[in-house]
């Protein structure tokens, strides 16, 4: 059965880093809070830790079970199945959002005349191939290519250092705490809360690996890369300009004189976003396989891929609508999946273990 696939803790942490970076590296998380985006981000980071520990506790209760199986055990057959179907929908939805994100980025920035569906179909093909090959292969591929993102981000940060204008970060908390908190909630649900999906993958960790260490390490590393990105964009561009651009990091990198490497950021976005899509896609197919008591996730790869492709084309009208949705509606939409259901599961599991 699929369960036999095993990944090492290095691979898991690299997958996690790729997942958290995901599509976040082409936007500025928390940009609603204007110049306080970094404060919003820090708050979200801390909140992310709390959510993380909640998911981790859930994992500790059932170390050999995926989220779908946990739902099944804790909520019973009927309710569990309904919640599982919702979760699988959530995974597919998230994957298609990231996919559309990438498609819009490519369309806006580099290839304005290429039809959207073509780029997306290529992307779905690549990720589908990776998912079909299984978790191990996905993890190995990530291991090969994710480190380049890290090098790239640090490199860009260093090149842009002379152009930093720290006064862009001021004034701090000029409009009070409320907008910052609102923004930070959106950041909490955008990259950090989505890690609930990793509960589908954690059971495949090799027994020698320690989940806690891997979690904390990758969370810190990915978080600091993102923080670096926010500070870079804020101090180079300023909050107003960020609010006016669709994809601020792309615009930031264009500020480097005599060096036009903005095409490369799309390539790196493809890598990190691809990892995120692969994980969502994998989680969805594994979830369906477990829901249907199937031994193999591979038969579901092509159907889910077709759904993904259709969904991501149909889901938005345009890029601004997409960004607006990601910032305004996504947090609310995610509350049950990222916060309510996991907390409920945790509480139920405490009762269950007390009275077996």
């Amino acid at each position: 059965m699929y369960k036999k696939a095993q990944i090492s803790s290095t691979q898991l942490s690299i997958l996690m880093i790729g997942f958290i970076l995901g599509s976040t590296i082409i936007i500025v998380p928390g940009s609603n809070a204007m110049q306080d985006a970094w404060i919003a981000y820090l708050a979200a980071w801390i909140g992310g830790f709390l959510l993380f520990s909640c998911y981790y506790l859930l994992y500790k209760k059932f170390p050999q079970k995926t989220l779908v199986e946990i739902n099944h055990i804790l909520l019973g057959k009927w309710l569990g199945t309904i919640v599982n179907i919702l979760y699988i929908w959530y995974f597919i939805h998230l994957a298609s959002l990231v996919l559309r994100n990438f498609g819009e980025y490519t369309l806006t920035v580099t290839l304005p005349e290429t039809p959207l569906w073509f780029i997306m179909a290529c992307y779905v093909f690549v990720t589908g191939y990776s998912v079909r090959s299984g978790l191990e292969v996905t993890a190995r591929t990530a291991e090969l290519i994710i480190p380049f993102i890290f090098i790239f981000q640090v490199g860009i940060f260093l090149i842009l250092l002379p152009y930093f204008d720290i006064s862009n970060l001021k004034p701090i908390l000029a409009e009070g705490l409320q907008p910052v908190l609102m923004a930070s909630f959106s950041v909490l649900t955008f990259p950090f809360g989505e890690t609930i999906i990793l509960l589908m993958i954690l059971p495949y960790l090799h027994s020698s690996g320690s989940v806690k260490k891997t979690y904390i390490f990758s969370f810190l590393l990915a978080g600091s890369i993102l923080l670096m990105g926010i500070i870079r964009d804020l101090s180079v561009l300023g909050a107003d300009e960020i609010a006016r651009t669709l994809f601020p990091p792309h615009y930031t990198i264009q500020q480097i004189p005599d060096l036009n490497i903005d095409a490369l950021i799309g390539v790196f976005f493809f890598i990190s976003g691809g990892t995120k899509i692969c994980i969502c896609y994998l989680a969805a197919t594994i979830g369906i396989a477990q829901l249907t008591n199937s031994h193999d996730h591979r038969p579901f790869v092509i159907p889910v891929g077709i759904i993904l492709l259709g969904l991501c084309i149909w889901i938005y009208e345009s890029a601004p609508q997409m960004l607006n949705w990601a910032i305004e509606i996504w947090p609310l939409y995610s509350i049950p999946f990222q916060i309510v259901i996991p907390l409920m599961l945790l509480i139920i599991s405490f009762f269950r273990t007390k009275n077996p």
């Binding site: 059965m1 699929y2 036999k4 090492s8 290095t10 691979q11 490519t106 580099t110 290839l111 290429t114 780029i119 290529c122 992307y123 690549v126 191939y129 990776s130 090959s133 191990e136 292969v137 996905t138 993890a139 190995r140 591929t141 291991e143 090969l144 290519i145 005599d258 036009n260 490497i261 903005d262 095409a263 490369l264 799309g266 390539v267 493809f270 890598i271 691809g274 031994h295």
Partner: protein, 521 residues
């Protein structure tokens, strides 16, 4: 339709049993040896179709003074001098004592001949005519006696072989210059001479229904993984073929991914390379009749490593390794990158260079993609022509290549000078990674097409697909990208070449996975 195609692919993956000549009767001559020499001679002549190179020498066995015998051998495969001196001469010489012994003790003639008369190193007896014929064709000399159902096989072979020369495929600046030749025994000797250890095992089998080619599996006991050895033996056993003319035949039967552009079995012509890889835990397959020795498992990083890396000083070797990686990257992606930049990403070129490029490209009618494709193919054609040509004509090819590729195309306005530079760089770097020669061309074309369709995105799509494909691959249970992904202990000796004392001959580099069963429940 899809099912059919999948079925075809499955066919390639798991070769079903196919019996070409399932009846082996062609090769059977009846087991028993005819008792009278006359019958025997006529039968032998019948079997061998009265061939001119079959020599039958009848003589009288004066040594035991009892009967007649014949010596049979194939002309040209036998060491005639040795047979004359050590077999024929003692047999025909008068020797009273032996005769007496025979009479007194009632011992068998065969025993006496082997133990006391023949002075040859390698003697054995054989009853079955089939096997005798096989040995005869293999170069042994056979001694038949009147009224005996057993024949004596004298193993005194001699034929002309090429000397131990420096191989053309793997020339080195520093390191031993000897290479294998076509003779199996010489090749084994070359390996044995490098390592004087009883742990070095040679196991012989025969392959090929007609050719009966001798195949030797060679490995270090205790270092090589048992799983790999058994898997290799199993795969060799399943080979059904008429003749093995080169180890390439074996390679195609035992490789894991016949349809992949990446080879999963490596080969070498040099004993020091083979011994080095044996010490790393690999298994070698030596095949009679070819200097190329197969080595399994093969992992990707081996393509970037050369035996010379370990003979030169670590710093220099490390730089060379990184350069080789760069060369591999350039040779596969440079035409694609050029096309992508020209077609989609003008902004990435510095402005002045862009103006220069545009000025140069002005008169060229074709899109960059076709220009690049054409030049890549022309280069490959010239390379192939240079390989197959007799040496004196080779010069003509290089002149034509230089003028056609270098000057005329540019002057005629078919290709831009920049494209010529790109192709030249691609070609030169292609020679730096010779083990991946065929692969690189395939990847180059794939990336070129991808790059011309979607620019950088196309290239990265194609590269990631190639990465996933490589991650999927296994060679004899070992992941193809082994020390790189999944990251494992061998990582130390990949991109860099650490000093030898820090490597400490880490022999456990290639252990196949614990979990070998491809069928999971």
């Amino acid at each position: 339709m899809l099912r059919r195609i999948m079925g075809l692919l499955q066919y390639f993956k798991y070769k079903p049993k196919r019996h070409i000549h399932s009846d082996t009767s062609v090769l059977q001559y009846g087991d028993a040896i005819p008792t009278t020499l006359k019958e025997l001679i006529s039968k032998l002549k019948l079997i061998m179709n009265n061939d001119g190179d079959l020599v039958i020498r009848s003589f009288k066995l004066s040594a035991i003074n009892c009967s007649e015998g014949i010596l049979v051998y194939i002309n040209g495969l036998t060491d005639k001098k040795s047979i004359e001196l050590n077999v024929l001469k003692p047999l025909m010489a008068e020797a009273q004592e032996n005769k007496m012994k025979y009479l007194k003790n009632n011992r068998k003639v065969i025993d006496i001949i082997i133990n006391e008369i023949i002075q040859s190193l390698n003697c054995s007896t054989e009853n079955s005519l089939d096997k005798i014929i096989e040995k005869l064709l293999g170069g042994s000399t056979i001694l038949f006696l009147q009224d005996e159902k057993t024949a004596i096989i004298i193993d005194a072979k001699k034929w002309d072989t090429r000397g131990v020369n420096e191989p053309d495929t793997e020339s080195v600046v520093r390191g031993p210059r000897e290479g294998f030749n076509e003779d199996l025994i010489t090749n084994i000797t070359l390996i044995r001479r490098k390592v004087k250890s009883a742990k070095l095992k040679f196991e012989e089998t025969k392959l090929g229904r007609f050719s009966k080619t001798r195949i030797v599996i060679c490995y270090f006991e205790g270092i090589a993984d048992k799983y790999i050895i058994n898997e290799l033996k199993g795969r060799l056993e399943r080979i059904e073929i008429d003749a093995i003319l080169e180890s390439g035949y074996i390679e195609q039967f035992i490789e894991d991914h016949p349809l992949s552009p990446f080879p999963t079995v490596s080969n070498s012509e040099k004993p020091d390379v083979v011994v080095g890889k044996l010490l790393e835990g690999r298994v070698a397959v030596l095949c009679d009749g070819t200097p190329f020795v197969l080595l399994v498992p093969r992992v990707f990083i081996e393509n970037l490593q050369v035996s010379e890396d370990y003979y030169t000083r670590p710093l220099y070797a490390t730089i060379l390794r990184i350069l080789r990686l760069l060369a591999l990257f350039i040779t596969t992606t440079l035409p694609a990158l050029y096309v992508a930049v020209q077609t989609f990403h003008h902004e990435i070129i510095p402005f002045r260079l862009f103006i220069a490029i545009t000025a140069v490209r002005e008169g060229i009618p074709m899109p960059t993609f076709f220009e690049a494709l054409m030049m890549v193919i022309i280069f490959e054609l010239i390379k192939e022509a240079g390989l197959r040509m007799p040496k004196p004509v080779g010069q003509a090819v290089s002149i034509v290549g230089a003028i056609v590729l270098g000057q005329a195309t540019v002057e005629a306005g078919i290709a831009s000078p920049l494209m010529v530079i790109v192709i030249a760089l691609t070609a030169i770097t292609g020679f730096i990674v010779p083990p991946l020669d065929g692969t690189v061309f395939f990847l180059r074309i794939c990336l070129l097409i991808a790059g011309s369709i979607l620019g950088f995105y196309g290239i990265i799509f194609a590269l990631v697909v190639i990465f996933i494909h490589m991650c999927n691959m296994k060679s004899f249970g070992v992941e193809f990208l082994s020390p790189l992904a999944p990251i494992s202990d061998g990582l130390k000796d990949t991109y860099i070449r650490p000093p030898l004392w820090s490597l400490l001959f880490d022999n456990t580099k290639f252990r196949a996975l614990e979990d070998h069963n491809p069928t999971e429940e």
